[in-house]
Symmetry: C2
Subunit: 186 residues, 2 copies
């Protein structure tokens, strides 16, 4: 009789901050305010809860990103800038970095099942962005000789790099100037 969404949300933040292995079930209990029984009754296992948390994180971030990618009222360059800026201006109180990136790094090589989930999500964003880049090319906003998919991949590699930098605690102004440098590639 508790709010499952709220519990998943709390778990998500703990995993996000500390990683999968370093997060104990005890910490999940205190973070969610629930007892062991409630958690295991509802979510079956630590791993299953992690899956839910990761999916929830992806839903939130991906939908927000797609929305931004499709803002056809903005030049593509501006949309890309804002995508990257979001990595630099996180909500205060949120853990640093990005749960998806953290998961790729920590569990990628040992958990193909997880990688597949992440890849599917990644592919959606890439495709959407490449589509918009192509449109921008026909509109003359972007050099038509460039490969739209390569550019989309590039944007997400830079975003990943920014997320890593955030985990190191890189200064905001460093990240900002990196974004401006990155936009020169367009």
């Amino acid at each position: 009789m508790f709010d499952e969404d709220q519990a998943v949300d709390a778990a998500m933040r703990v995993f996000w901050a500390s990683g999968y292995e370093a997060t104990s079930t005890q910490e999940l209990c205190t973070a969610t305010g629930l007892g062991r029984s409630s958690i295991y009754n509802t979510f079956s296992s630590k791993r299953a809860l992690f899956d839910l948390a990761l999916r929830r994180y992806m839903e939130q971030t991906t939908s927000a990103q797609l929305e931004l990618i499709r803002r056809t009222d903005l030049p593509i360059r501006e949309r890309v800038r804002q995508i990257l800026w979001r990595a630099v201006e996180p909500d205060p109180g949120d853990p640093s970095g990005c749960l998806v990136i953290n998961t790729v790094v920590e569990l990628g090589p040992t958990d193909p099942e997880l990688v597949e989930i992440l890849d599917r999500d990644h592919a959606v964003k890439l495709k959407a962005l490449a589509l918009e880049i192509r449109a921008a090319q026909t509109a003359g906003e972007v050099d038509a000789s460039r490969d739209p998919e390569a550019l989309a991949d590039y944007v997400y590699v830079v975003l990943g790099g920014l997320r890593v930098a955030a985990r190191r605690g890189a200064a905001t102004r460093v990240q900002e100037s990196v974004i401006e440098a990155a936009l020169h590639a367009f």
Copy 2:
């Protein structure tokens, strides 16, 4: 009476592949071929051994990178290209990604001591690269209006992003085209 360097090397690869938390002392024993006693006698703790492994990794990669950065016989653009290419063409048999990036992501927010070590190393590379970029600017190779330090930061953000992509198992040709896109920013 065993080869300490060899043991650190073996440990390094296990940590690199699986991360700190997910690596058990048992795995370190089998990977090094040593017994628990030998390891604890020589290295004191799992954490201390990790420190050594990380430092060793940094020594190797940083020296190689500095060497490349200072290849004044090559245009700066070419040097940057090769730095990035190394992320795409790892030695076969090496774990995917980069131990430094993995460590930043896994332990960065919870281990300031470690972050300091990583930062010092990072700063050395950044400074060296910025210096060469500045030189390239006075030589007319690079647009003089750009900030050399921002460009150096940019290169290392892209490199980090590539290392994350490698952990996901990104196709080589995707990474290649990302590098070419990234070089457009110069």
